[in-house]
Amino acid sequence: MKKISNKIKVLIIVIIILLIAGIAVVATKGFNVGLKYNETKKVEIEIGKDFENSDIKKITNEVLSNQPTIIQKSQLNQNDVTIMAKEITDEQKTNLVSKINEKYGTEINADDVQVQLVPHARLRDLVKPYILPFAIATVIIVIYAAIRFHKLGAIKTAIKTIFFLILTQGVLASIIAIIRLPIGRTTMILVIAVYMLTATGLICNWEKKLKQKKQESDIKNA
């Protein structure tokens, strides 16, 4: 049986712990979904003047106790602001309106501003468009690896390729769950990056082994 070095043993143990911890966190608390895709409260305020998002951010930090917020300009003239946060009470809404009135010299009536609930997006819906391209790419990469490295064992190579591609995504998901990284627009970028690195790393590793095997067979033949 192939001897596994201590470093590899430690790595395997760390990966197992990460996976178990990740599953436990997801099962109990779920993923931390970022504001963009989570259920939020929204207010739309017609300022009627030019404004900077950073100024509105200062106001929301003050009124909403530094809650994470999404601030967007709306309408074609960019004079309306949409503020989204996990929670906006009526009192907070009134304070927001009064601060904006103070800052921009407007006379917006807080009663004209409604707090709307924005429902959450399902994580399944966010991931769905990526399933097919990843599946196709994985199949092609596995077939390529099996053919290119058939001297190392086509089936063994194919299985290892699938295993490591899935394992690294599992570890990434666990890390995201454990450190409570918000699921948002950058999550799929991380997934793509890890996928590409894993696939390239595997191919580089197989190329190195193939080269070693070729050198060994050349020496034997010599």
Binding site: Q75, D125, A137, R185, T186, A193, T200
Partner: protein, 497 residues
């Protein structure tokens, strides 16, 4: 001469870089205008149309007879209260969406049908959110010239019925439809000639059978007149009986609106119903309107009936929350890292490192220009693609320079050959290892979903440039520089002699 070549190429690269980062300014109407095409931005970097559709609370007027049955004759709705009373009818206001329709399953079904419609309309980037407590749906979709008509279409119920004109008995519904599509062709009959647009509804197996029976039952009948002559002993009497066979007709309704009333001249066995939309026309704008109308109807019939009536309550354009400031910070960080990395190249590889750095800058500039003109919709994933190209190109350049550094520089005679050989080895080794990335990129560029194709396209152009540009420019510069040094050494040796 060779130094001139190096300087010329370097100046061209500087020019391309200035164009990529600055633009091309020309004088137009007494002011300078940048004629460089701007980046095409995806929803996450530009903005989106945010639409909220709510379960409708609207009510409809129902007329009931004295037995409590609904009066389906459409003329009953126009009767006055006194007339209704005379006939023993009562008027009731009923919500379009009754309580038994407002279920989580129906909300989810509605969301699923709306998603299907958006996919069929080719909307390749959207976010859809459903509030399961009240059925509200919030959509974020990219802004385009037909966003308003898309919004109208996706929220339409799409209820299809074929009913008996007299009894209002429902004969066929959405469940009988297999597919609906738009057909058009030239129609040259009579005064109205031109391109005709048809809505073609194909029924499924059960629907085909039902439709055949309906076309048999509701066949167009002829008027018949019979004469009866009787004679008796005292007087002659002649009487004429004229009887008309009752013409049964069907009414086709979409969203409770009567589309047509007809009978059938012949039995239809192919399970297809074709409706003409408008008149045959040669006017392109009119034709486009007819096609648009037919396409909207075909889409709602093809994707199924939304079980709940929705109404649009909010519809506004919202800009991205990613500010210009945040993008600038990202650019500055990437620039700073790139500058440091290029300085490392120069320090490590000296003249070749400087050439590599110049080539590197040229490649990035060219990539940014190509992205603008190749209509790549830039999303956050696309920006990541650009950063990935920066990293891959740096690794390639470093590998190439490292390999060239190992060449025996004392062997002046064969230096060009050795450089070519080294270049080939690096290309082969590098691109073989890049194959999985190439597979991922090619797969992604074939996808419709904008964030995926944005990443794919930026990487695609990046990899093409890494291969072609580095061979044409970077490698050529390094070779010219090596030849220049060889020539310079030969000159030194001659001077010594």
């Amino acid at each position: 001469m060779k130094r001139v070549k190096i300087i010329t190429i370097t100046l061209i690269i500087i020019l391309i870089t200035m164009i990529a980062f600055g633009g091309i300014y020309v004088k137009k109407q007494n002011r300078m205008e940048n004629i460089m095409k701007d980046y095409s931005l995806a929803m996450d970097l530009d903005g989106s149309r945010v639409v909220r559709i709510k379960v409708s609370d609207e009510k409809q007027t129902i007329i009931k007879d004295s037995n409590g049955n609904e009066v389906t004759d459409s003329s009953a709705t126009s009767l006055s209260d006194e007339e209704l009373q005379e006939k023993g009818y009562t008027k009731e206001e009923q919500p379009y969406n009754s309580d038994d329709v407002k279920t989580v399953d129906n909300y989810k079904k509605s969301k699923s049908i709306i998603e299907k419609r958006m996919n069929q309309l080719g909307i390749n980037n959207y976010i859809i959110k459903l509030d399961e407590s009240n059925g509200d749906i919030v959509l974020e979709l990219p802004e385009s010239s037909n966003t308003d008509s898309i919004i109208r279409t996706i929220g339409t119920s799409g209820k299809f019925e074929i009913v008996d004109k007299d009894t209002q008995e429902v004969l066929m519904t959405n469940a009988d439809i297999k597919t609906a599509r738009v057909l058009y062709g030239y129609s040259g009959t009579g005064t109205a000639s031109g391109t005709a647009v048809y809505l073609d509804i194909e029924f499924n197996k059960e629907g085909k059978e039902k439709f055949k029976n309906i076309s048999e039952t509701y066949k167009t009948t002829q008027n018949t007149t019979t004469e009866n002559t009787t004679e008796n002993t005292t007087e002659n009497t002649t009487s004429e009986d004229t009887s008309d066979a009752t013409q049964k007709e069907i009414t086709m309704k979409i969203d409770d609106e009567n589309i047509m009333t007809t009978s059938f001249d012949e039995v239809i066995e192919n399970g297809r119903l074709q409706l003409s939309i408008g008149q045959p026309t040669t006017d392109n704008d009119t034709l486009q309107n007819y096609i648009q109308e037919a396409s909207s109807t075909a889409l709602v019939l093809d994707t199924g009936e939304i079980p709940i009536r929705y109404e649009v309550t909010d519809n506004e354009y919202v800009y991205t929350d990613i500010t210009d400031n945040e993008i600038q910070i990202l650019i500055y960080v990437v620039l700073a890292i790139t500058v440091v990395a290029l300085l490392v190249l120069i320090i490590r590889y000296k003249a070749n490192g400087a050439i590599g750095a110049i080539g590197y800058i040229g490649l990035i500039s060219l990539l940014l220009i190509i992205i603008r003109y190749a209509n790549v919709a830039l999303s956050l994933e696309g920006i990541f693609g650009i950063i990935a190209v920066l990293i891959i190109n740096y690794i390639f350049t470093n590998k190439l320079l490292a390999r060239l550094n190992k060449i025996d520089k004392t062997d002046k005679k064969n230096i060009s050959i050795n450089i070519s050989k080294a270049n080939r080895e690096v290309y082969k080794d590098f691109f073989i290892k890049l194959i999985p990335v190439i597979i991922i990129v090619i797969t992604f560029i074939l996808m419709d979903w904008v964030p995926i194709s944005s990443f794919g396209m930026t990487m695609f152009w990046g990899i093409i440039l890494i291969a072609a540009y580095n061979y044409i420019v970077t490698y050529s510069l390094i070779k010219i520089n090596a030849d220049t040094k060889k020539g310079g050494n030969k000159k030194d040796e001659k001077d010594k002699q």
